[in-house]
Amino acid sequence: MQVLKKYRDPELIKPMLNEISELSQKLDEELKLMEVCGTHTMAISKYGLRSLLPKNIKLLSGPGCPVCVTSQQEIDEMIALSKMPEVIVTTFGDMIKVPGSNSSLEKEKSRGADIRIVYSPLAAVEIAKENPEKIVVFLAVGFETTIPVIAAALEEAIEEGIDNFKLFVAHKLIPPALEALLNDNEVKIDGLICPGHVSIMIGSKAYEEVVNRYDLPAIVAGFEPLDILDGVKGALKQKVEAQVEVEDKVKAKVENRYGRVVKDEGNQIAQDLIRRLYQVVDTAWRGIGIIPNSGLELRDEYAEYEIRNVIDLDVGDSNEPQGCSCGEILKGIKLPYDCQLFGDVCNPQHPVGPCMVSSEGSCAAYYKYDRR
């Protein structure tokens, strides 16, 4: 699709940067925007956008990296699972290097564990079909974008009668996490750049509640440089407008600037599928703690497809590594540079926390592209 190239066109990016720069001069105070999504963090770093924005606009990374928010307990359980001889663990490449309390999937693989990296959960279903004598577990991490994809693959496996295919469900939901973040007094955010691909599924309307309660702009944006800048511009514009009209103050609103794929209502089929298979539960986010109604578990009629209902994985209590600021970084309270471990102790070769492991983790993105 040729038109998509235009979203990287310097002839449009440069004037938009100028427009943002002019608008920013009208700001009374610094504008702190959180890009919730890790793929945004990655793109912002990759395109060097942070260095091009005016000094009074700050972009903070949010909790939108599924690997980064998976709890230490769950990581330890995944590692324990991989050591079982009857099990083949299948996973997105993202999880492979995440350090658990004592090991990682990468290390277990080097010791002989059968761990296979796949691009799609459909490939994991194929592996289950080819290995009927084994239990094939797919590590189901991810947010609303990935949840229905894995659910669809599970349904296909069930339809085909492949009953040795199981999930390790560690999914997380974005709107409850936003709610928890904005409720946290330490967190100071003036606006949200909302995750474009999560929004395809949940729809741009899903942010209305948060926006109304906390009165801050939320812009759904795509991932090309022009998309991201357009998102920043949208939030900036709302902020500037809210400043001037003191009498009849304009309320903040949700804006969908990724209309080529995101609709107000989202993807109904995906939403129905999630509701059919899953029920909402409280779940622990790494570094943040338990967030009410922010996780999923398979409904009773599908419970046999959750590996932890089949195999007992008692790993005891897990502790997060000392000195690691992943939690505060995920909440946008600290920048990666502010973590005492960043760089020397914690780097992509020897990651301490998952924010350094996942290539879209804030720490990895900062280390890779924005190192000082």
């Binding site: 940067l17 260095s51 080097s110 296979r116 440089p225 290539s359 924005d370 190192r371």
Partner: protein
């Protein structure tokens, strides 16, 4: 207890650590320490380039080539990048029991054809067979020697601020071609491996200038990793122009799908050339006329700022650091 991980063999930082902390530490000598792709030997006035390489690629047949062609090109290219004319190769095979003889024949046929193209002779060899499961189909080691003119002084530590950087064509093609065949990822692609012997291209360059500073083939770890090695060895900065980098739309799209960066994907027929600024136009022209250099381009310049660092500048004025590859490249969805 630390153990060897696949990442130690990926050509990135962990590989460097092994080289520095185990190999050079134990085996140190002035030739090894220079860390070039080929060792330069002085034998009573005759200069020889000497190198070795092992090939363990899975699958052994991939779009655009096979392990035999690769085994010749890998060693020929390591010789050629020292400025040498490759002459003789050895060929050692470790074969897993059960390999179809027809496949072996096909591989050796490719070895023969590629050797002819590269102008080298296979003059000695060895064969070992191991039990099923103790190797993966076929491993090949080739060792090669080439003769080196005494006029030339080509080495990764010779880049100076102001020098220009060229590359001979599209990046990342070998990496994508091989990934497309990997289990769990399979996709069809029109991308073919760029596996090619570079001896002809190097001699075409050396015909127009003897002022070449650095020649390197960016194999594992890709362009980014090799340029980092050069920046480190020469203690210079390197600045690249993103829109000058030759990357095909197909490689770009496949990389996006798998969440990979084409600048870190392996190449097997690419050459990084660093020459003084005044030589660059002649060199570019010579490269573009050569069989494996039609799409050659000037991609950046050596700078004095930030020694050891490679920076990529995009066409709307931002820049980012291009680090070495850390660990294996894994497809990701996030």
């Amino acid at each position: 207890m630390e153990e060897i991980l696949l990442s130690h063999g990926s050509g990135g930082k962990l590989t460097q650590n092994l080289i520095d902390e185990i190999f050079i530490k134990e085996l140190d000598n002035e030739i090894l320490r220079s860390k070039n792709d080929a060792a330069i030997l002085d034998l009573e006035g005759e200069r020889l380039a000497f190198t070795t390489d092992s090939f363990v690629i899975n699958p052994i047949f991939f779009p655009g080539g096979n392990i035999g062609e690769l085994a010749v090109c890998g060693t020929v290219n390591d010789l050629a990048t020292s400025g040498a004319i490759p002459k003789y190769l050895s060929l050692s095979l470790i074969i897993e029991e059960g390999l179809p003889i027809t496949e072996l024949k096909q591989v050796i046929k490719s070895v023969s054809e590629t050797a002819k193209k590269a102008g080298v002779k296979i003059v000695t060899g060895d064969t070992k067979v191991v039990a099923k499961g103790e190797a993966d189909k076929l491993y090949i080691n080739t060792t090669g020697v080439g003769s080196l003119s005494t006029k030339l002084n080509i080495s990764a530590d010779r880049a100076k601020p102001g020098d220009m950087i060229l590359v001979n064509g599209n990046l990342g093609e070998h990496g994508i071609a091989v990934l497309s065949e990997r289990k769990g990822l399979e996709f069809e692609t029109i991308v073919k491996s760029d596996t090619a012997p570079l001896s002809g291209l190097v001699s075409d360059i050396l015909e127009v200038t003897d002022q070449v500073k650095v020649l390197r083939d960016p194999t594992r770890g890709g362009l980014a990793t090799t340029l980092n090695e050069i920046a480190e060895a020469s203690q210079v900065g390197i600045k690249l122009q993103e829109d000058k980098l030759p990357i095909s739309e197909t490689v770009e799209a496949a990389s996006q799908m798998l969440g990979l960066d084409p600048l870190y994907l392996a190449n097997e027929g690419k050459l990084i050339v660093i020459v003084p600024e005044e030589e660059v136009e002649d060199v570019l022209e010579a490269m573009q006329k050569s069989e494996y250099g039609v799409k050659s381009a000037i991609i950046g310049q050596v700078t004095a700022d930030e020694p050891g660092r490679v920076v990529l500048e995009n066409n709307f004025g931002a820049s980012r650091v291009l680090d070495m590859l850390t660990g294996e490249m894994l497809p990701r969805i996030c």
